[in-house]
Chain length 479, copies 4
């Protein structure tokens, strides 16, 4: 039951990380049980991608960014787990996330990011025993250099009904039994990112709960190989991994699971919230505060990719001097740099709470996320406009691999740049904007880390209207 | 050389159409020569899809729409080839295209649409011998019930240079020799839709040409199996054809080719334009006038699909009464119905030229196309917003096929509708908006039948500013 | 009590119209009782403007459009009162409204338009006695060639409460007494257009009413000079009438009143609805159906003015060839012509009810109105962008009138056009987009004839989702 | 010739400022010479408004923000003239400008802001003698506590032609003579803000100049009362000053002039650039860098006013809980706070040049300005939507002043707030968004401190594409 891996100390290597996933977890993929995640080609891509979070700790180029040191013991640990205590800490965290996502081909690695977001949130809002348990679990993750997923979104059933009114009580994860040594939980979470290749899963309530939903106000941590826990990996994005045709997605992937709790036992020392509906909202939103900041940080390489590929393909096509093309690139720059400026500003305005934890300014974080989310599809249009129809009418990897065909392609697809450069760039744009990987990014833009509506609500709530309303009154002379 | 098929008279059947494609044409796909298009699974989907244009002629439900009758001979022929002589003819053509595209799962069949668009254009602007040749070729297509592709977009090389200034003279298709019996052409066209499964290809100049570009001012028709002609079918969208996972694209597909002319001989009776650069613009744009009208007609089922899937998934998710959801659906309705109204209006305002041919009003046609193209990506955001993240985190066909897994999915993905209905609908939305097929639609929205910039230019040109400017002067008192 | 004017038959002249307004009506303007509307400069502008609706009946250029003939009696009457029985009738009505608004400097005259909209609506939905009364009143207006206002919007008090729950019962107009000979009404309507210079006012409920709001479900007609009726004319837009500085608003104006009913008696023959809350919604929306069509018809000259002034000032400034300027003008054209196409289409799709009355297609009418309303402010930005900052930094009429100053202005404000033409055009644009008159147009775009939210609601309701949802089901294979 | 005022030292009072304007300057307004600016009601409003820049120096509440101290001499001077040497200096300057504009009812005072912007720019880019002259003039302004206008925009004639090719050589200000003691200049500048009530005018070239435009490459300073200089004050916005009807514009106003140089002599010590076309661009853009930062700083109170008035009127109308209203207010918040965040970030990212002068980051400054400019009209729509049609149909000051009328208004215009509060607020919104003052703000949004196109150009230029393009290459594997 206890994963061997959790005994490890210090910074694990990528290979140690890979090896640690062989722990008996119950994975399903494309209709089959997967005994060895590393042996399944699609899933292996995701594991290797996630391993970036371990590689950078041993890479001299990134060590400064990726490794933190305990001031007391001198012990090194992953910087993802460094508690943010200032604007500078949050800026450093943002740079770390941005950098690794950049290495990850616009795809966030997330295996340490999301778990630490949840832990910071718990450490900010829990109290008493619960806080002590969260602190102990935080130490467990930090010293074990663990990969930690967060399961928050319940499958929800009929969204017009609250948890307790669902025809099927399991449509939100809930407590079915309290025992002396722990609790038993049942239900399912969906959209659980990186759980298939994580060590631990932190479960959080999906939203504020009313008194009738007490059973659903539950938060805990569980190892992925816990009895009764089954992970159904999404089939989305499964396909061949030709590097010519899919320059990005052939190497970078994130897994999402339907995460089913079939009477999973959780010992009390890993229970953070149990039947306390009045605290569900605070636990939920403390995570979200950190996680949206992570989100806008990891979106920056994707935005750079949109600007960079659009500018470069326009140059290769020979249209970069056209007024309307410059206009489109300027709009992409404006979009990307506005999100970047707001992201940095969320850190620069970070409050520090009475426990000494800094958190990104909620208003600014949500402005950044909302700006990102609401202009993303328009940005895709601009990039595709600069690139041309060849995005969806071009040759494939097997064409390129045949010398006879390649000669034809090289002759006819040359433009202001050689055909090879142009085709590889076009395939990159297609991968990012028009194929499964692009669709994944697009849907995530709208839904991940909270929907657009959730961000609007948070902007409305986080805004302090006092100044503006007082000013309106003064202008009107109605003091 | 002469395709057997062209001797056929009257309305072919789908099977006759399929059989006719075995004519020795040179097809390449995914790095291999394809001796039999019907034996290649990906390509077969496209042939079967295109065969819809033949099936409807024999389907009692659609015969009235799909079959025209020669008033003199009583002979029946495909309604796609009926010359439009009135608003009603254009409306009927629009309904035909919309209906068959609807049957085609939002994908236009195009095998008779695009060729007839080009023929109508040629019949409007050619004169003398050229006109007679076009008329003869039109009769050939009509009586043979042929599938006809149009190759217009050259590969273009460096887009900042005109054809004759390209480093490689073959980057636009051009005349290399005039003989007593015909001409020899060389070069390549790209984005040639449905050529791989057509009988004939009409080649048109891609744009207006200057005097120095005379060799490039060439228009002709050639059978697809002409010696020297090679078609390289795009690999885009190749993938498995699981019906659960890809409800639409598993059954509907359009092929695009890089169409290479390696000294192809064209007899004079099939040459419509040869080294007459001053006529290149008119030939090019006469086609575009009809083809953009075809385009907005065939976009209507896609727009209905966006509205319908968004409304239905909102209902299934239990959120259809939420104010912001209704707002999103209203915006989708507004988008879809504005395009529909403008499309119909393009026919209602159709002028009839001195030859008795009706053509869609250019200003209104371009308003419709521009409205479609510039709001498409925003519409995708709205649909994805209504659907939820499950679009990219859901199960695959193999999951559904395994009864053990299916039971889990049925329990946890049920909402206000049973899981099966909901998952099938979500996969439909994913197919239409987030996967390769969706990316294909999105890139086509921006680039097919002319880019957004081309539509803007045409709106500017087609608008008659006299009334508005005179009114401005009158208001200003500067008559 | 009975206005002398109502006895008149046939087509009145503008002077007869002006004279008829001297009937003892209670008008207040800028804090004063106005005994003679014609003697008050600001108000006189509005009367002269409204008189256009009478002038055109006697102008040979417009008679065909402006005058209808009774097929039985041969009697001529104003075409505004011609009952629409077909698409052609609605198109003719639209042209009439557009034409007269064009003469009116982008400002609708409205004195016959709005009243006939209300009458058509009443004739469509009333029944029995009520219908007979409406028919008689319609004949009274038609044969008397009357100007008729419509008072619909109540002052409403706290908008979160229904009529009967308002702290002040008079915040919606209501029945306070039923007598043998009629009813007594009390309350106030706001935004009542052209009431100050109309003969009659038709009162309609502002919205659907519940059973508790029975007293508020009232509709009737009353002469403007009825005892107890007081009109408080809005001070908005009052200013000097220099023609150089205000080329449009110095000549064209519409008056709005707060219309107070202080126990006004209405005889039964003029009561159309009394304490029938279940019919309030139908009466309200039948008017709106016609009136929004009137609205989009009268917006067309304003849209032409935006396109025409932008194109002309760009030419005068010497920037009409710049790519971004052409882009802006193209966007203005797209906006204007989309509204025009949708307006015409609303007539082309007009249903005819079982009484033989044609009414504009509600979906298309609301698409037109919504498109107009939601893009208007963006269009102002485009026009102002083309015009330049001189819109708000230029000289005034008194500057121009001084020859010494004028010489300086002529020298320095010349561009590609003489300074006088350019300044007059700039003042026109300023009048239309940046000054009181422009603000009036802008606020009307958002609120008049129903708010943007009302139009969205109506689009949602008028749309028949059956086809799209069925298509979604078919695509998903869940028939 | 030398204004007495310039000899003054230290912080002037508002009254000293007012008195100092009586210096013989040649002002024209509404067709008349104005001998005494203080005696002309419209102009007096502008002088009193500008005097705020003097009042705050003596107001204990604002002294810390408004007064700087010379570290060497201990001498106090206006903080507007404090040279920015760090991010903190720029933030303090931004707060000062925002604060005073807030006191100024959303209207910037500008009499010290714009001149110091120009001086900072000159001190950054001039060299040698020119730099010394600029330093001396800066000391003159700082120690004299002067109001300084900037005349940059030439009248320009035909914008498609460069300065030297204009039919009238005076359409750009140019050097007509070089003398031993100075130069003589001729021509006219337009849109010269606050010149009528400034002490000095700094003239800058409007743009980069080519070699043929040498005569037009001129920059200098001149007192406003210099012989040959005539100011034609714009008539825009002249109207009655009723405080009820125009709560903001009755008290706050900025004057713009056509500034005519009729052979004005400028001594060499005030000439900063003379016939050096290669330096014109740098001089022009150094000013713009500072001035756009001033611009976004002074827009913040206006943005607060839009948010605050919309939120407050929604509350007063009783609609603040409606979903669509909250959505609109959220969009206003997003707009306002994005501009604010970008403005602050422009200071936070400020580079410091080798002379020790800090300047706002050009990319971020232009992002802020562009965001402000391109969403302003949409924001007006949102505010007007929340407010209602009463914005343009309400009563005037004279109505309110008449007790009999006021009683009616108080009864019928009460909502969730008393009628007086609501009407005063509505008039404020009308003033800000729908009347002359609102139109002034709207046109300034598009044109002031550079047009939207200028900001786009600057974003494109200021953006360093290296990172994004390198990333695109890495993703594509084309290093």
């Amino acid at each position: 039951m206890v994963p061997v891996y959790s005994a490890a100390m210090g910074l694990s290597t990528a290979d140690e990380y890979r090896a640690s996933l062989d722990d008996g977890r119950v994975l399903w993929y494309r209709g089959r049980r997967v005994p060895d995640i590393l042996a399944e080609a699609d899933l292996r891509v995701a594991v290797d991608h996630a391993a970036l979070d371990y590689e950078i700790g041993h890479d001299p180029v990134y060590r400064d960014l990726a490794v933190a040191k305990d001031p007391d013991t001198g012990e090194e640990f992953s910087a993802y787990y460094a508690l943010p205590r200032s604007t500078d800490d949050l800026l450093a965290r943002s740079r770390l996330i941005e950098t690794v996502t950049g290495l990850g081909g616009t795809m966030v690695t997330l295996v340490k990011e999301i778990g630490s977001d949840a832990l910071f949130g718990l450490l900010r809002v829990l109290e008493g025993d619960s806080l002590e348990r969260a602190q102990a679990f935080y130490e467990h993750c930090r010293t074990g250099d663990l990969s930690v997923a967060v399961a928050q979104t319940d499958v929800k059933g009929d969204r017009s009904l609250p948890p307790h009114a669902q025809p099927d009580p399991d449509h939100y994860v809930h407590v079915v039994e309290e025992r002396a040594d722990g609790i038993v939980v049942r239900g399912a979470k969906c959209h659980t990112s990186i759980s298939a290749n994580a060590h631990e899963i932190i479960v959080l309530p999906t939203r504020a709960m009313g008194p009738d939903d007490a059973d659903y106000a539950v938060s805990f941590a569980t190892p992925v190989n816990a009895p009764g826990l089954s992970l159904y990996v999404s089939a989305y994005g499964a396909r061949d991994h030709d590097e010519f045709e899919f320059p990005v997605s052939s190497k970078h992937k994130m897994l999402e699971t339907l995460t089913v709790f079939d009477d999973v036992f959780v010992p009390w020392e890993r229970v953070f919230l149990c039947r306390e509906p009045e605290k569900a909202g605070a636990v939920s939103s403390a995570f979200v505060e950190y996680h949206r900041f992570t989100a806008v940080s990891y979106k920056l390489p994707l935005l750079d990719a949109l600007v960079g590929t659009a500018a470069l393909i326009a140059e290769m096509n020979g249209v970069s001097k056209a007024g309307h093309v410059r206009d489109k690139i300027t709009r992409l720059i404006t979009y990307a740099e506005t999100v970047r400026a707001l992201t940095d500003m969320a850190a620069l305005r970070a409050p520090v709470d009475e426990r000494g934890l800094a958190y990104p300014d909620p208003l600014t974080t949500n402005l950044a996320k909302y700006t990102f989310a609401t202009q993303y599809h328009a940005a895709l249009e601009l990039v595709q406009d600069c690139a041309g129809g060849l995005l969806v009418t071009g040759p494939g990897g097997a064409d390129w691999a045949n010398p006879e065909v390649r000669a034809v392609l090289e002759k006819f697809y040359a433009a202001k740049a050689p055909a090879e450069e142009r085709l590889r760039l076009l395939n990159t744009i297609s991968d990012l904007t028009a194929r499964d990987f692009g669709g994944y990014h697009a849907v995530l833009a709208v839904h991940a880390e909270g929907s657009i509506e959730a961000e609007k609500l948070q902007i409305y709530r986080a805004y302090e209207p006092g100044r503006a309303v007082a000013y309106a009154r003064r202008l009107a002379g109605i003091g």
